[in-house]
């Protein structure tokens, strides 16, 4: 566990360490980096406007840290696209990117297509449903990549109590993290259990890593990223930043069950891929949940596809666009 202790000391940050945006921009420019912000959306009209206004004002107009802000949408039926365009984002429908490769429904699909569409050397992903959005959600994740060349993947976590003492207190993620992901990491990838909130939807990644990651299109994308990054580059390539607090929609337990199903699917696939377990049966994509109606008990079947997109670097159109990396 010494590695974990060292890593917690060296690779866990708090956003306030990066308050000096002027210095951050200077360092970014010195390194000649291009930075892209990607916001995946699906019916986010209530929160997307505020996110765009804050990021554009603070991290483009006042401090030119971001070179592009893009919304990649899964097919919203509300005013998400209209609002996003009105506030100056580059707006893309996921289905319109790499159309020859078809379209899948899922957040992971948007994240994957962003690698093709966006120009940044670093892409920072921020969910669109954050009520208390603040520029730190982007710069807090980007800064470790700018100041520490060996770090390739920075994950957000949220923990800022109003009062602290010398006493210990538990750190933790949400329900799915604590009853599924952290136990699984502890069993199979103990070092990854040090990620406080492995499922958070906010992270910044260097393109050189991002383009080499396969992408589950659904709930398993974050878990898969961590395992694949850890397996290929080790824990030292990963960092995490405390962004204080995040206010977002609370999900009902039944929805969390679907999320857990998708994550488990991606996790087991990786166990098999890395030769950690063998003899697993073909994994079903059907989740069964149940309900009662009058005196009847009913089965609900949910198809949860955890299809994976290949590493973007293996997509010929991408290699062509990026200047033929053969």
């Amino acid at each position: 566990m010494t590695d974990i202790d060292n890593w917690l000391r060296s690779n866990t940050f708090h956003h306030s360490q990066f308050w000096d945006l002027k210095r951050l921009v200077e360092e970014k420019e010195k390194q000649g980096l291009l930075l892209s912000l990607c916001i995946p959306t699906l019916n986010e009209e209530k929160t997307i406007g505020k996110e765009l206004v804050l990021f554009k004002s603070e991290l483009m107009d006042r401090y030119p840290l971001l070179d592009e802000i893009a919304v990649i949408d899964s097919g919203s039926t509300d005013r998400t696209l209209e609002v996003a365009a009105a506030f100056g984002a580059d707006v893309y429908r996921s289905a319109d990117i790499l159309p020859d490769l078809g379209s899948r429904l899922g957040k992971g699909e948007n994240l994957w297509k962003a690698i093709y569409q966006l120009k940044g050397d670093i892409i920072v992903y921020v969910d669109a449903d954050i009520k208390n959005i603040h520029p730190r959600f982007a710069y807090g994740l980007i800064a470790p990549l700018i100041y520490r060349p060996e770090i390739k993947y920075v994950k957000a976590f949220y923990d800022r109590p109003l009062a602290t003492s010398k006493e210990t207190r538990p750190l933790g993620g949400g329900r799915v993290t604590e009853i599924l992901v952290r136990p699984l990491f502890s069993l199979f990838f103990p070092e990854l259990s040090a990620l406080v909130q492995p499922l958070s939807g906010e992270y910044a990644v260097r393109r050189e890593l991002l383009e080499r990651l396969p992408f589950p299109i659904g709930y398993g994308v974050e878990t898969a990223h961590l395992i694949d990054t850890y397996s290929a580059w080790g824990l030292e390539a990963i960092a995490q930043t405390d962004l204080d607090s995040r206010v977002h929609r609370n999900q009902p337990t039944r929805d969390l069950g679907r999320m857990a199903f998708g994550i488990l699917h991606a996790f087991l696939t990786r166990l098999r891929l890395h030769g950690i377990v063998s003899g697993l049966p073909e994994l079903t994509t059907m989740l069964r949940q149940f309900q009662t109606r009058a005196d009847e008990y009913e089965q609900l079947l949910f198809e949860i596809s955890e299809e994976e997109r290949p590493p973007m670097i293996d997509v010929p159109a991408y290699r062509e666009k990026r200047g033929n990396m053969d």
Partner: protein, 384 residues
């Protein structure tokens, strides 16, 4: 009516130019608006404001004894000091969710109009003047005022005006809404609470049906007989704890206005007498407490500042508001400083959780603010 075609033409071009700053304007609005600031607890907002002042390179960024946050944008000559202030507090407790939503045409959230937008103007004005390449000859004192609403009784602004280390030539108080308001005078007014407490007769308990709400109902009827409807605001009433238990405590909050301080003093004496009378009749403990008071006074409608401001508003195609009274005007008047209260945009659901403002008129509202500043800077108040 004052006429200044050059200034009017310049100001009329500002709204289009200011649209280029939309994200900066809205970002400051959001960051300020999502910081809770109930009266007497404005510190976090003031901290943010001062951070913005510092980033804009203002001088003398400071706080005073009552928590106001102020800074100076030096003028090219600095012979005069113009104060632009906005109250930092809102009527919402910190416990309610302060999340704002932005749509292309409007922003929604508690306190957005009263007065997050006004305060955000104070934070944003230096950047906007810089963007527009406007340099005033006068020093601009920018201030977020604390302790304004309710029991605050405008204490922040009053303190600053009474204790400013530099003479202030003119003052503008910025409110989020409504665009077109031009308040330059104040009526004599008080905010007051009438509290009622019922002492339960020992041994009677729940059988005693005496209700504080009923007593306050008598009070309301007597007030309505005593005061003209236009001079009385029955602001809020609350009391009791449950459906089945008679309310033992209740409080009524009112505002009273008169056109002179003497008349208001007379009126408060009459209310004291009514309170005593109802107390004697019902056995309830009634109290009449004045929470905030403003004196009558202010500028004449023909004062050059008022006329210049009105002409600028008109030149921007803004419909001038009908009223002219604000208690804030009394703060300026008490110190002999020409002062106005203006609004920045149109809005609705004021002081409700779904309070909202319209974005498009904001650009004209800011143009109006800058135009009035330029008129003052040009000397419209000099010698008055």
């Amino acid at each position: 009516m004052q006429d200044n075609p050059g200034l009017h033409e310049f100001v009329a071009r500002l709204p289009a130019a200011l649209e280029g700053c939309r994200e900066i304007i809205l970002a400051n609005l959001v960051m300020i608006g999502e910081i809770p600031a109930p009266t007497f607890h404005e510190q976090a907002r003031i901290d943010f404001l001062q951070q913005r002042f510092t980033e804009s390179g203002l001088q003398n960024v400071s706080s005073d004894e009552v928590g106001n946050g102020a800074a100076v944008l030096p003028g090219t000559e600095g012979h005069k000091n113009i104060l632009v202030s906005a109250h930092a507090d809102t009527p919402f407790p910190a416990t309610i969710e302060h999340t704002l939503s932005i749509y292309p045409e409007r922003v929604i959230g508690p306190g957005i109009a009263d007065n997050s937008l006004g305060l955000s103007m104070i934070a944003t004005l230096p950047m906007l003047l810089d963007f527009l390449d406007i340099q005033l000859r006068s020093n601009l004192i920018l201030m977020g005022a604390t302790r304004s609403l309710g029991r605050g009784d405008l204490a922040g602004l009053r303190f600053f005006l009474a204790n400013s280390s530099v003479p202030i030539s003119a003052g503008l108080s910025v409110e989020g809404v409504q665009l077109g308001r031009l308040d330059y005078a104040s009526q004599s007014s008080i905010d007051a609470e009438i509290t009622c407490r019922i002492q339960v007769v020992p041994g009677k308990g729940a059988a005693d049906r005496s209700s504080a709400v009923l007593v306050l109902n008598q009070m309301i009827q007597r007030l309505c007989q005593l005061v003209r409807p236009q001079d009385l605001v029955l602001g809020s009433i609350e009391g009791g704890t449950a459906f089945k238990t008679p309310a033992r405590n209740a409080v009524l909050r009112i505002e009273l206005q008169q056109d002179s301080d003497n008349k208001l003093t007379e009126l408060t004496r009459s209310i004291d007498a009514i309170v005593e009378d109802i107390s004697a009749q019902t056995g309830a403990q009634l109290r009449f407490d004045i929470i905030a008071r403003s004196n009558a006074g202010g500028l004449d409608p023909q004062h050059p500042l008022v006329e210049h401001a009105r002409s600028i508003i008109t030149a921007l195609g803004i419909e001038p508001g009908q009223g002219c009274y604000s208690t804030v005007a009394s703060c300026f008047n008490d110190q002999g400083i020409p002062g106005l209260v203006i609004g920045i945009t149109e809005g609705q659901h004021l002081n409700q959780p779904d309070e909202e403002i319209e974005i498009e008129p904001v650009f004209r509202g800011i143009a109006q603010l800058i135009g009035i500043l330029m008129a003052i800077d040009g000397g419209c108040c000099d010698g008055h």
